[in-house]
């Protein structure tokens, strides 16, 4: 297990890349859900309850 996390001595580089990518993807997913919340908000304001 420890060997897996050590990545042959390159742990810093490999894990920071995967971490950054996960962060970027999480940001995009967050943006999408914010957009969805906004769409729901407008639908509520427009008066029809259907999603």
């Amino acid at each position: 297990m420890a060997e897996f996390f050590a990545m042959g001595g390159h742990a810093v580089w490999v894990w920071s890349c995967y971490g950054l990518s996960a962060g970027g993807i999480a940001f995009l997913i967050w943006l999408s859900f914010r957009q969805r919340a906004r769409a729901r908000e407008w639908q509520k304001l427009s008066g029809d309850g259907q999603p």
Binding site: G9, H10, C17, L20, R36
Partner: protein, 243 residues
């Protein structure tokens, strides 16, 4: 063919049905691809475990370029046929492409540190990616600067098409610049030496990224379309009450 997607309600229904497929498809592909990339695939005989960076770096690069192609294509459809869904697709693709271009640069830099011994090498592909990132920033800045929505959509479409035409020329010029002035000692990341044991996890990861992007784009376009129509309805209602 395009008219089938031009009807916003029909598109919204189609997107609502497709998003879960692509979303869960992406989740499953990541569940296969991540262990394959991180554990099963062997370390490279030259690069050791840093080669695992490739499994996020290359899909990011591929997506950032595919997103720009999509941005240009959607802009073209919007510009010629004025289909609002195409403009929404362009609007949805821009931030996604920009984020993946940024990730390509960041992971490329982090890969370069152990491999080349520098954080940043003015290598042709990293430099082209930097220009692509700037193109995305310019597109988003232009759209943000113009208040009138239709005008912003039009100007954005024209810029995206110009960028798409110019992109191969930029790529060529950067390659040209690089071969002329770069000492040849740079270690190339590419080359024909990619082994099958690395190609398969790379393909799975690329598919996972692509499915994820497709799901996000469809979801965003659907929600933007819903929001737009609901906003119009809300405004009509308020104006109706006002009189």
């Amino acid at each position: 063919m395009w008219s089938a997607f031009a009807n916003p309600e029909r598109f919204e229904r189609l997107a609502a049905r497709l998003v879960p497929w692509f979303g869960w498809g992406a989740a499953i592909l990541f569940a296969i691809g991540l262990p394959w990339a991180l554990i099963i695939s062997p370390p490279d005989y030259q690069q050791g475990d840093t080669v695992r960076i490739m499994y996020v770096h290359v899909p990011s690069a591929w997506l950032s370029m595919a997103a720009y192609a999509g941005l240009g294509g959607a802009s073209f459809v919007y510009f010629i046929w004025r289909h609002n869904i195409a403009d929404l697709a362009a609007q949805a693709l821009a931030p996604i492409g920009a984020v993946f271009a940024f990730l390509t640069l960041a992971t490329g830099s982090l890969w370069g540190r152990p491999m080349w011994g520098t954080w940043w090498e003015w290598d042709a592909r990293l430099t082209s990616m930097l220009v692509l990132f700037l193109l995305y920033l310019g597109y988003m800045a232009l759209r943000a600067a113009i208040e009138d929505e239709r005008l912003a959509a039009r100007a954005g479409a024209i810029l995206a098409m110009a960028g798409l035409i110019n992109l191969p020329i930029i790529k060529f010029s950067v390659d040209w610049w690089n071969t002329l002035h770069q000492p040849a000692s740079v270690i190339r990341l590419d080359g024909p030496t990619i082994h099958m044991s690395q190609l398969w996890p790379l393909l799975v990861m690329a598919l996972a990224f692509t499915a994820l992007m497709t799901a996000l784009v469809l979801m965003n376009v659907r929600n933007m379309s819903l929001a737009k129509r609901a906003e119009a309805r809300a405004r009509r209602r308020i104006e109706g009450e006002g009189t």
